[in-house]
């Protein structure tokens, strides 16, 4: 798509043609859709959660549909950071847009190690620290609920990594704003939210949880009002930019997050339903700017506060 200057931004050092990001875990390493769809329809792509060691992931079933949403329990299946650096990172330039790597670890030190290994790699524009995955102990929410733990973890990663650092927040913290402030204090450049919320579906015929992992993370439109509220609260509490996500399917949904204070938005589940989402949201935002005579989308950031 022809870049529209009214949508361009620099997200704490990452130059993007639009405030639209493919959400982690929902777009692979960016190559899976590329046979059909230009990854550069996005302003940036966040790749699958990456850990120090390879992980096989959770037993199936890993997904189940719920009303206007889905649960997933992938379990951070990934080939590990060394494989990533050897086989994937060198190809990321092909995508034609900045790539952010989502990282997770079993301990603060593992996070630091992964971040250190990814520091100043050409293909990687920034990191997103996942401290909010409801499906694994690794990368898990256990790290994301307590402001003190978050501050310590983010500080360590910050020492090891010199690019743009994004911290991904969970709603399951007692106070998401306290965690947000802790991440900001520790040197995060950007906050992203929300990750999925832990849920469960029971198969009443088998009288067992549907998912192999028992529980999984809720994503999709079902979540959207809760995510908009969380972005609104966090954007009001911090001064660094916020990337909003949770159930975005179209330009109007994206605008809700921007008006609530998000500098950019990420789209996950909607890709599964509509692989043309990036392109359609981009066009929809342009139309909104046209109709409302807005010179640059950033005028809308937080305008509903």
């Amino acid at each position: 798509m022809k870049p529209d200057p009214r949508l361009a931004l620099n997200l704490a050092g990452i130059a993007m043609t639009a405030p639209l990001i493919a959400a982690s875990g929902c777009y692979g390493y960016g190559f899976d859709y590329a046979a059909w769809i230009d990854p550069a329809d996005w302003g940036a792509v966040v790749v699958k959660g990456t850990t120090l060691h390879p992980r096989v992931g959770n037993p199936p079933p890993r997904i189940v549909e719920t009303p206007s949403g889905m649960l997933n329990a992938i379990g951070l299946q990934n080939p590990g950071v060394y494989y990533f650096l050897e086989h994937i990172e060198p190809r990321l330039g092909e995508l034609g847009c900045p790539v952010i790597v989502n990282i997770a670890g079993e301990s603060p030190d593992e996070y630091r190690q992964v971040a250190g290994l990814l520091d100043s790699t050409a293909g990687v524009a920034g990191l997103e620290i996942n401290i909010s995955c409801p499906n694994v102990r690794c990368g898990g929410i256990s790290f994301g609920c307590d402001p003190l733990v978050v501050e310590d973890l983010v500080s360590r990663v910050r020492e090891a990594y010199h690019g743009t650092l994004m911290v991904k927040l969970s709603l399951e913290a007692g106070s998401i704003t306290a965690v947000a402030e802790a991440a900001q204090r520790a040197g995060a450049d950007v906050l992203s939210l929300i990750n999925t919320i832990k849920g469960m579906v029971i198969d009443v015929e088998r009288r067992r949880p549907v998912l192999g992992n028992t529980t999984g993370g809720l994503s999709g439109p079902a979540l959207r009002p809760v995510a908009v509220r969380a972005v609104w609260e966090v954007a009001s509490a911090v001064s660094i930019p916020v990337v909003g996500m949770g159930g975005i399917t179209c330009a109007a949904d994206a605008l809700q997050f921007i008006l609530a204070g998000a500098t950019a938005v990420a789209v996950g589940t909607a890709n599964f339903v509509n692989p043309l989402a990036a392109r359609e949201i981009r066009t929809g935002l342009q139309r909104y700017l046209d109709l409302n005579g807005v010179a640059h989308y950033s005028e809308l950031i937080g305008a509903a506060l």
């Binding site: 059909w36 889905m70 079902a222």
Partner: protein, 267 residues
Amino acid sequence: MQTKPALIHYCELIENTRVTAQWHCLRLRAPKLAVASPGQFVHLRVGSHTDPLLRRPISIHHADESSGEIRLLVRPAGAGTEFLVRSKPGTVFDVMGPLGNGFPHLNENRRTLLVGGGIGMAPLYFLAGQRRQADLPFELLIGAASAAELPPHDYFCRCGFLPLVATEDGSRGVKGTAIDLLEQRLRTGGEAVRLYACGPPAMLSRVVDLGRSYGLPTHISLEAHLACAVGACLGCSFPFKKNGQIEYRRVCRDGPVFAGEEVYFET
């Protein structure tokens, strides 16, 4: 930017025919999808709201490049498949595809057995038609609970072949399961070279066992709940055993057809 092939196709439903007590055959105008090969599938939106949310995968049951049409065989199982079988001609579906690897189409001029359990016959019917056209020998074996759950004879005749049928209640063909039928054909039908199968996991697991006993390679089409259907979300992973280690492969992209010997069926 080079132009890329389209992933989404808007396909008009031309005809919707009930072919068993429950199953419907949907004929779609889909020139771009008619190039698909047997074992590939499409991924369809089933409504325009957020519930049901995800697309539903359906095997390509038949594809005809010359007419630009494809057919789907659908068994209503829940909201999504019910949306499909209730749709009226003229409806335009939002269809992703063709997806998946498909059955290896080998030009071996030797007898292969195609085993379909229930709705699992859908892609094998397509493969059978292809072998029929190429004049390659095959037998299509189909199992169902009863005659009412199978399409009538002429459903197959027009493609120039007839399946061998097993029903659990004996109301049509052999009394027994698709596996009983397969065992019979392996014992008595002369030398076979290869097995293709699609159906419930328990059946597939038995097909693989039989393949092992007879020293025949098996190509089985697996099912899983799909989200993205292109390999991006890792939601459809199925366990495989490699060097004694479990590893997960993606049904949607690495499959849905796999070498049966490598699949790890939990027991």
